[in-house]
Symmetry: C2
DNA sequence: GTCTATAACTCGATAGAC
DNA sequence: GTCTATCGAGTTATAGAC
């Protein structure tokens, strides 16, 4: 899981996996008939842990559903900062590297994205009272994913957090335009965090 | 250029390049000492042709600068449609695959992004009269790139144009919020095209 | 400058002993 | 189930003839 995230699937050799896992090829291939099966298992694992390991801790820290959503984006920002803007979203990486060639991989990336958007969409539903009635929650959740993935890509390409922060700032600005007039606006910068 | 775009850098073997180019290894390595030098040349080539080959034809078709920008996005949509949502942005692909490992590659991806945003930013400057005075053109241009790249990623992961179209629709909605009240809004769907 | 042949190495995967 | 040894194909790159 870690190596695929850090280096990508193709660039990670089975030999390195065996070395860092302190396992032998016989053992690995007994459980995973091919390298690709290992990737599928990794993607299944991401599906399993996304909500309990990634979202739950964030959602517990905030009451307001919009704070929860932007707190989630902050998690990805933390990862960029910690890795000097080298590590991106593990699903997005795999999707761009392999979605065209391995249908099963593509499907699992889609399911991970679905779960991500479903969780974000749920927050937006809860914030529905503060949103203008014509706002389509599903499309907005999809837009959150789009902006996050695009922001991560630029952060990695520039090896700088700046374009990611700019993307989130624009997203917050947009969300504020979608709020009813009497709603408390989403704060720029870390004032809300 | 084509093979790196279709398959990625790592997944494209020198042997395949030689075969499809009908060249022999001796010739290739005479001009490009290593495979990576070929990639650098490809990225330089993208820098060269981006404006004359990609942007100029679009910008000629439209008078209104906002039409020009969204016409450019439509070009990427065309590519997704033509390839059944398998081919993405060549620069974004390379950036996510190699930005962490090859500093020179990363720098060239950044320069390609810079040029893209500079061209989009110029359009936005020209549309400045219709934009609210507090709109920061540079940040908005960066947001266009973010949304486009994120939209392409989702389109490829779902092998469907729908999430891309949804992303562009949200972006248009946002831009309309940034327009002065007397400005003609950007049209959703193909009404403007 | 371009050719053929191949070196030197890594890749994913397997066979067979234990 | 796990081990060692290794297969065969594919990789990037080079040497040397022309």
């Amino acid at each position: 899981m870690r190596l695929f995230h850090e280096q990508g699937y193709g660039a990670t050799g089975v030999a390195q996996i065996l070395k860092e896992a302190e396992a032998k090829s016989g053992s690995l291939y007994y459980y995973f008939p091919a390298k690709e099966d290992l990737l599928l298992a990794v993607l299944e694992q991401y599906k399993k842990i996304m909500k309990p390991a990634l979202m739950a801790p964030v959602f517990e820290r905030y009451e307001d559903p919009l704070d929860q959503v932007f707190g989630l984006l902050e998690k990805y920002r933390d990862m960029l900062i910690k890795t000097n803007c080298t590590l991106g979203c593990p699903i997005g990486n795999i999707a761009l590297e392999l979605a065209d060639r391995h249908e099963e991989v593509r499907r699992l990336c889609g399911e991970n994205f679905d779960n991500w958007k479903s969780a974000v969409g749920q927050c937006l539903e809860e914030a529905g009272d503060h949103l203008r009635p014509d706002v389509k929650v599903g499309e907005l959740a999809s837009f959150f994913l789009t902006v996050m993935e695009g922001g991560i890509m630029q952060a990695r390409a520039y090896r700088s957090i700046e374009p990611f922060d700019a993307a989130i700032a624009s997203l917050k600005d947009y969300v504020n335009h979608l709020l009813k007039n009497n709603a408390r606006p989403v704060q720029q910068s870390s004032a809300r965090d």
